[in-house]
């Protein structure tokens, strides 16, 4: 209960001001496409030079927490996921916003972020030493199998058709091989200079999700009669809270999946939301509603991506190994104050580390309050007529993909992927499985080659990848997941296919 002794530090005037500022600023930065949590925290580091270590960390922690949640705003209202963590949020959240339920979607998303986030931080407070041991147990072959497990859900993710989902996933896997392979040291599919570094995840996200939508809106906008303005009904907070209690299952799945996956260095933040989304759909009696603006998917995704925040700091704080790019930036912020994470930080600077962790706990609550305050007016964006909306999405889309690497090449990649996706969507393919392929490809590929190198020096690949308790558990999950998809597909095959209206049809 040591952490309770340091709660006073959070409410000291200066620290609390920074916490407030960091939370509000973080929500705004997070809602800006292209400004990922990592970039937001990196931008703030120079401001901490002149603060005490505790104050600096309070600011950085608040920004980290709230940028992750802020990403939901652009994912829901504009269908531009600000970071990979928000992909699953966009799936159902944007459908809700299109129905005029933007405020409801934002309320639910901030509330579930808050619940997931608080539980994640509590895990960090109480279970850090145990979790640190888990982190070390997860090794190369296990990460490989986790990536394969992710691949198995591709087919069923946000697709009317299992086969088309798999095909989109394959396109994504192929796209992920473009670029310079650092482990083998060879070039793959680099036919234009801009592709030298591969396809960046942020330009890809923006292109694949936002551009097809912009093109659709433009197509609609040409017919004046179809210019529609949605009325945004007022959403009462109490109603949203009552509604959240109906989704306890999704909330628990999201929180558990987010906390566990958040622990895995290098993987966590990217896939936590998607895995939680997929799991809660498989366990939901209303699974056919997922993807059509069903709040359950939104709740699972958002609770997962904030539950990940606390556990993702475990490797940094205990082993001094940053488990995510954002944690690496936080490490920089700590080092500059002569604080070395690891046992040093808990033994010699308890006031710094505990005030930091406590401030994130309080920050989660503030994030929910301010998030809900902005939800009301942010949701009005959905009322904008399509032509204005199209321009309004295009500007942050271009800005966001440029800002990642200050590179026009990335903007070209974003536009090319966007136009390609627009055409694919006309044939019933969807963006989510493609993006999942793009994210999982390198994780599976790199851990496979790395594992093969390690296996060659030990007992060979068979022993290395297929023995050991954790390997066997993961392989069993992979098999179960594939079997489930087939079973489900066969059941669905018995029913008559339902005609789906083509998105963007000018009628």
């Amino acid at each position: 209960m040591e952490f309770l002794n340091y709660f006073g530090g959070v409410f000291e005037p200066w620290a609390f001001m920074l916490l407030l500022g960091g939370t509000i600023g973080g929500l705004i930065l997070g809602a800006t496409p292209g400004l990922s949590p990592t970039m937001a925290v990196a931008l703030l580091i120079p401001f901490t030079f002149h603060m005490s270590a505790t104050h600096g960390l309070v600011l950085l922690g608040a920004a980290y927490t709230s940028t992750v949640a802020g990403g939901a705003v652009s994912a829901i209202l504009l269908k531009i996921p600000g970071a990979p963590a928000n992909i699953a949020t966009a799936l159902d959240g944007n459908e809700m916003a299109k129905r005029g339920e933007g405020a409801r979607a934002l309320h639910l998303s901030f509330l579930s972020s808050g619940v997931g986030g608080v539980i994640g931080i509590l895990l960090l407070i109480f279970l850090t030493p145990v979790l640190a041991q888990w982190v070390l147990k997860i090794q190369t072959p296990h990460v490989f199998w986790i990536a394969i497990l992710g691949v198995t859900v591709i087919g069923s993710l946000d697709s009317k058709s299992f086969v088309k989902g798999l095909l989109s996933g394959c396109i994504g896997l192929w796209l992920s091989t473009i670029g310079y392979d650092e482990i083998q040291g060879t070039e793959r599919f680099i036919f234009a200079d801009a592709l030298g570094g591969g396809i960046g995840i942020i330009p890809a996200l923006i292109g694949l999700f936002a551009i097809p939508q912009v093109l659709d809106m433009m197509a609609k906008g040409r017919v004046d009669a179809l210019v529609e303005a949605l009325e945004v009904p007022r959403q009462k907070l109490a109603a949203s809270m009552r509604e959240l209690t109906r989704y306890v299952r999704a909330l628990s799945i999201g929180t558990v999946v987010g906390s566990i996956i958040g622990l895995i260095p290098g993987v966590g933040g990217q896939i936590a939301g998607l895995v939680a989304y997929d799991q809660s759909r498989k366990m939901s009696p209303q699974r056919e509603k997922f993807g059509t603006g069903h709040p359950e998917g939104l709740v699972a995704a958002e609770s997962a991506n904030n539950a990940m925040v606390g556990p993702s700091l475990v490797p940094l704080l205990t082993l001094s190994i940053p488990g995510s790019p954002t944690a690496a930036v936080l490490l920089g912020g700590l080092l500059i104050k002569e604080i070395f994470p690891g046992s040093d930080i808990f033994d010699n600077h308890p006031e710094v580390v505990w005030t930091f962790i406590n401030s994130m706990l309080v920050g989660q609550v503030l994030m929910v309050i301010f998030g809900i305050m902005i939800a009301g007016w942010a949701a009005k964006i959905a009322r904008a007529p399509a032509p204005i909306m199209a321009a309004g999405v295009l500007v942050p889309a271009v800005f966001g993909s440029y800002s990642v690497g200050q590179s026009v090449g990335d903007v070209h990649i974003m536009l090319a992927l966007g136009v390609g996706m627009f055409i694919l969507e006309k044939f019933g393919f969807s963006a989510a499985p493609l993006v999942l392929g793009l994210i999982l490809g390198p994780i599976a590929g790199d851990n496979f080659t790395q594992g093969m190198t390690l296996a060659a020096a030990q007992d060979g690949p068979w022993v290395y990848f297929f023995t050991g308790t954790l390997n066997i558990i993961l392989i069993a999950l992979v098999v179960a997941s594939i079997a489930y998809s087939f079973w489900n597909n066969m059941l669905a095959g018995d029913k008559a296919p339902v005609a789906e209206p083509v998105v963007g049809d000018t009628k």
Binding site: F49, S320, G332, I336, S343, Q406, T453
Partner: protein, 322 residues
């Protein structure tokens, strides 16, 4: 529309002329960008932000320096961009990492070599060290080498990638001990390589001194040797590889500094070569770098030119036939 384009083109041309016309006299008269070929938050980015923070002082450059992150392909993307697209007017500099970019250019497939750039000054040097887990049976370099000789190709050794300092150090150790390690380049840089050592996934690892020092402070690793000519102040008790009986010099030390593209006007290079080392030596910079556990080594333009040439010769020899 056509007219608008013409006007815009004319305006752009005028601006370009104005920009080129003005630098000769009072360079710099606007902020200077420094391209970093790695992502925000990495060691190079972190240090570049610190060493350039006093650029705006009147007695240094009088203009602030801002950082442009151009990450991708182990630094290749950023340096390709810098060699082919960056304006050679002194307003775009880049951070260099030695041996990375020289080793990559020897290996091929990139659009730069040491001849594409003009060094300005060096700010830091981070030697590679050999680390093992805290419970490892190896307590000295001799233990490790003995095992490697008895089990050729079985001594799994993690490092941050191919053709980076860690890889060079591994190659030099193999050459010196006439034994075979199993070098495992990890995706995710030094942090992932260090986790593999702490988690017992590999028998040994080669990592940055600064990170290894922290890991040792946290009680997670033992440091067996440092690949440099002298012992390091951060870890005085650790012998150099030479002391441990291995003929390994400082070719794998990771040097960081600033450079400009070839073709930058000589008066601009002269001004930078004079002012930038003063910027690195500033008391506030030194204090922050020390706090961050980042070893500094300030070298002027002539010293860096010599270091680049030496490094290129050694690396060409070492990477032959790889």
């Amino acid at each position: 529309m056509k007219r608008l384009f013409k006007t815009a083109a004319l305006a752009a041309a005028t601006l370009a002329v104005a920009a080129t016309g003005s630098f000769a006299g009072d360079y710099p008269d606007r902020p200077i960008g420094v391209a970093v070929s790695y992502g925000a938050g990495g060691a190079t980015d972190f240090q570049a932000r610190i060493v350039t923070m006093v650029a705006g002082n009147e007695d240094i450059l009088g203009q602030p320096i801002y950082i442009l992150n151009k990450p991708g392909a182990g630094g290749r993307k950023g340096w390709n961009w810098f060699a082919t697209e960056a304006a050679a007017d002194g307003y775009t500099m880049s951070a260099y990492n030695i041996p990375h970019f020289i080793a990559q250019s020897i290996k091929g497939g990139v659009k730069y070599s040491a001849e594409s750039f003009e060094p300005i000054a060096n700010w830091g040097s981070d030697p590679a060290v050999v680390v093992v887990g805290k419970d490892s049976k190896f307590n000295s370099m001799q233990d490790l080498i003995e095992y490697a000789k008895a089990n050729p190709g079985k001594t799994t050794t993690s490092g941050a990638g191919l053709f980076v300092g860690h890889h060079i150090a591994a190659l030099q150790i193999e050459k010196a001990c006439e034994c075979k390690l199993a070098y495992v380049p990890t995706k995710g840089g030094g942090a992932a390589a260090m986790k593999a050592v702490i988690g017992g996934e590999v028998l040994a690892g080669i990592n940055n001194l600064s990170d290894a020092f922290r890991a040792r402070e946290a009680g997670n690793v033992k440091i067996l040797g440092v690949a440099d000519l002298e012992r390091n102040d951060f870890i005085k008790d650790v012998p150099t590889l030479k002391e441990a009986g291995l003929d390994v010099d400082n070719s794998s030390v990771n040097f960081r500094g600033l450079m400009v593209p070839k073709g930058t006007p000589p008066e601009v290079i002269d001004k930078l070569a004079k002012q930038v080392p003063m910027m690195f030596a500033h008391a506030r910079v030194a204090k922050r770098m020390k706090a961050g556990g980042s070893p500094m080594k300030i070298m002027n333009r002539e010293e860096v030119q010599k270091m680049w040439a030496d490094r290129e010769a050694v690396l060409k020899e070492l990477l032959k036939g790889l």
